[in-house]
Subunit: 226 residues, 2 copies
């Protein structure tokens, strides 16, 4: 099942997806976004995705610039959806959903070096994604999430779905949706290369410690595997 | 008051701003967006700006692609706000508001050939814009509009404000906001190089005729001036 495209992508980039923070300013417990990111990165986050769905382009751009300034060079800054913002702040890449720009178009605009991730909500989307120039896939959502419970939301993959996804591709997989300290080990054991979290870190009163605790679970799960 | 930047811009591009359509799908009277644009262009529209604030990136991109396919080459297609969409469909340029990406950033991403317009809502913004790499300014709103009556909306420039703006710059000026067949001549006489309209064409049951009628008013006003 490994396509030529997958082989090429695996060759090109090394991204540590272990603990992937997706930002949501609305959840912050009195911290600024930059302070949250500082604490989360210090606690062990390995990728930061800026996701801001409800602000102007200018505000999004300014937030992205701020983050870009404080990010350690080894931690990729990924911009949700907006290829122009990623280009404008020289972010490391973009994360695309199924209703964002097509992956091929984003790749043309961003070039081969950029990291491009894509959320897949079901097997059909995953199979389509195997032919696209993506660097990783987000299995979304792996568990139902409190913010996504309406009927239009996609069904959760579950751990079985994640295992199935793992068997279908060697692309790096990050799981997102309802992940916390309790289920983190199971998600890694089921085949995820990394955990993407929003509220587990953003809504924590101690984001650094929250990141550290998740990171430990990931390490534990990996040790058991080997 | 003419800056070096203005002189350069005037040299570089010739855009006929006379009748500038800004799209709003919500207003269409049973027409598809492409049919509206076909009719409006046939009726005399000289620029088309795709403005879609409430759709996904993918949908915006697909609408832009559709328009790009049907636009006559001599009529510029301008994308509202989204530099990435403009790049993705090779549109002729972007129109930026004050809360969109900074003009200089957009210029860096789009290159010198692209058309970049900027909405200015007051004299301060206009004066700032004279130092920016823009190709035209939109005087916004010239009249109060039914869709912008809340307290957070900027005050209308009025015809006197437009005349004042005209005296401050030789940059091409397009007036927008509440323009219709009745006031079109006055707006041109007050110094606008073109009229930007949304509802006067989009909400018309006969967009082709609406465009033609506006175009005639523009011609009449120009004849009186000379």
């Amino acid at each position: 099942m490994k396509t030529e495209r997958e082989k090429e992508n695996k060759k090109e980039k090394k991204i540590d997806l272990s603990l992937y923070l997706v930002t949501d300013r609305r959840l912050l417990q009195g911290l600024s976004l930059t302070d949250l990111v500082r604490k989360a990165v210090y606690g062990g986050v390995t990728v930061v995705q800026l996701r801001e769905k409800e602000c102007s382009s200018r505000e999004f751009y300014e937030l992205a610039l701020e983050l870009k300034k404080i990010m350690p060079t080894e931690i990729p800054l990924i911009i949700n959806d907006r290829v122009d913002i990623a280009l404008a702040v020289r972010a490391d890449g973009v994360h695309l959903g199924q209703s964002d720009l097509p992956v091929k178009t984003a790749r043309e605009l961003l070039g081969q070096e950029a990291i491009i991730g894509l959320s897949v909500e079901n097997l059909k989307q995953l199979e389509e994604a195997l032919h696209l120039p993506v660097d990783y896939l987000a299995i979304s959502p792996v568990f139902p999430t409190p913010t996504k419970t309406d009927f239009s939301s996609p069904a959760a993959w579950g751990l079985d779905g994640l295992r199935q996804a793992r068997n279908l591709t060697e692309l790096p997989l990050v799981a997102i949706g309802g992940i916390n300290e309790e289920n983190a080990e199971k998600v890694i054991s089921a085949g995820a290369d990394g955990l993407a979290v929003v509220s587990a870190i953003c809504a924590s009163s101690d984001p650094e410690q929250a990141a550290r605790a998740l990171k430990e679970k990931i390490e534990q799960a990996r040790k058991k595997k080997n």
